[in-house]
């Protein structure tokens, strides 16, 4: 059943994502074409605007992706469509896992489309070499691929946990009889500040138990092992938070469903 639910979830979110991808790729192509005529002043101005719009869209692509996933979750599990979704002979867990997988798959697709559109717009010979050079300078002396891998992993986990936090807030808010959206927003704010508080506490514990890390910070020389340990601790903590939010969402959808 998971495959079937996932298929329809991807189709549903595709309605929003395909136009986004089309705009990203279209802008990339337009920038590449207009670049050939950059000496014409009018075209140069237009090119400037297009690059600004393109960068803005690239920056907000992941945010838009997240908004679309949350919209899918809300409409599919708590609005009118939920009357069909919750009467399907499908486990609640399957419905929820499908939404999480949809978030992961679309995040990957958005990343791929973003990279392709960036390459179309700005590629030149030796681009990769320059990128690696800049990154190596930023993380002086470190194994750059390892750091990128860790950062990508941490980014994915943080992204999913944030989405699960909103899922949990919506699940609680929509279990109420009235002011469902209002309660959802309140719970999202409570969760957000709760997480920030917990991260601060965790940072305090890490700092106080790992003196070498503090020394590294003071001397501005990051040790690779310290940085990766730091990432690992926060990654595990973020995964636990994500699991907690998943459990809350599941409990409320399974036991406290209260459709309008």
């Amino acid at each position: 059943m998971l495959g079937k639910v996932l298929k329809y979830d991807i189709k549903a979110i595709g309605r929003y994502l395909i136009p986004l991808y089309a705009v990203l790729l279209g802008l990339g192509i337009m920038i590449r074409i207009l670049d050939f005529f950059e000496k014409v002043s009018v075209i140069n101005i237009i090119l400037g605007f297009m690059i600004a719009a393109f960068i803005l869209l690239i920056t907000f692509s992941f945010v838009l992706n997240g908004i679309f996933v949350i919209k899918l979750y809300l409409e599919n599990l708590f609005k009118d469509e939920a009357y069909l979704t919750h009467t399907l002979p499908v486990k609640k867990n399957t419905l929820l896992i499908s939404k999480v997988l949809t978030a992961m798959i679309t995040l990957f697709l958005t990343f791929v489309v973003m990279m392709i559109s960036l390459i179309i717009a700005f590629y030149y010979q030796g681009l990769m070499k320059d990128v690696i050079h800049i990154l190596s300078q930023s993380f002086g002396g470190m194994e750059i691929y390892k750091v990128i891998l860790y950062m990508a992993g941490y980014g994915l986990i943080s992204y999913l946990t944030t989405i699960l936090m909103v899922f949990a807030a919506i699940a609680i808010g929509y279990s109420k009889s009235s002011n469902k959206l209002g309660y959802s927003v309140i719970w999202a704010i409570i969760f957000y500040f709760g997480i920030e508080f917990l991260y601060l506490g965790l940072l305090g514990i890490v700092m106080s138990t790992n003196s070498s890390f503090i020394t590294s910070l003071e001397t501005n020389i990051f040790m690779m092992s310290d940085l990766l340990n730091f990432f690992t601790i926060f990654m595990i903590f973020t995964v636990l938070l994500g699991l907690g939010f998943y459990f809350i969402s599941y409990k409320f959808i399974n036991k406290r469903l209260n459709l309008e």
Binding site: M1, K4, D80, Y83, P89, S177, L259
Partner: protein, 251 residues
Amino acid sequence: MVKVSYKNQFTYNFIMRGMNNLLLECKNVCKNYGRKEVLKDINLSLSKGKIIGLLGKNGSGKTTLIKAINGLLSIDNGQILIDGKEIGIETKKIISYLPERNYLNIHRKVKDIIDYFADFYEDFDKDKAYKLLADLDIRAEDKLATMSKGMREKVQLVLVMSRQAKLYILDEPMGGVDPATRDYILDTILSGFNNGATILMSTHLISDIERVLDEVVFIDNGKITRCESADKLRKSTGKSIDEVFREDFKC
């Protein structure tokens, strides 16, 4: 005016239980919205192979009860059993539910929605769905977004009645449909369900459906006030069910 007391209602339920023919049982079901009691200790037993009208005024608790039976809202107290099972995947396999609102994604084509139903419901009959659509002059290639409210309701009804379910729960199935089409829809409902299945239908259009009802359940202010055979009710009161309803629920 003859009203069935709770004692009689329980006797009725007891007899039905004795027949070992029960499809739906609600035992002491309560539901509150905040401080407001919407369902008050509902006890109801419905047997197989019947067409039952769930009748009541606006806000009487009909839709809430139907939603509870479908697992769309959690009840605060009591138990609901369908074919002897608590609400879950197995009960959803045997219930075909038509809500009073549009629950389909309006951006989809009708044929895609048919595929969706066929994917999830083993008892869904695609051929029957296409035949019913053709009878109602609805094109499978059309998107729901291009259709009127009434047409969308017809599509929903076609989907629901194209399943070979044991229990059909129809919440206002003819609410937005023109009078000329109501008879066809009623015939579709009657011819569409297999013998042995039960239909629980909530509606305000009592006169339209009166002729087909085997039993009636009156609900008022979250309580069941009548639960008896339609024929017996007509005989004992000498009135149509529509007239009894108007008397019982007179403002």
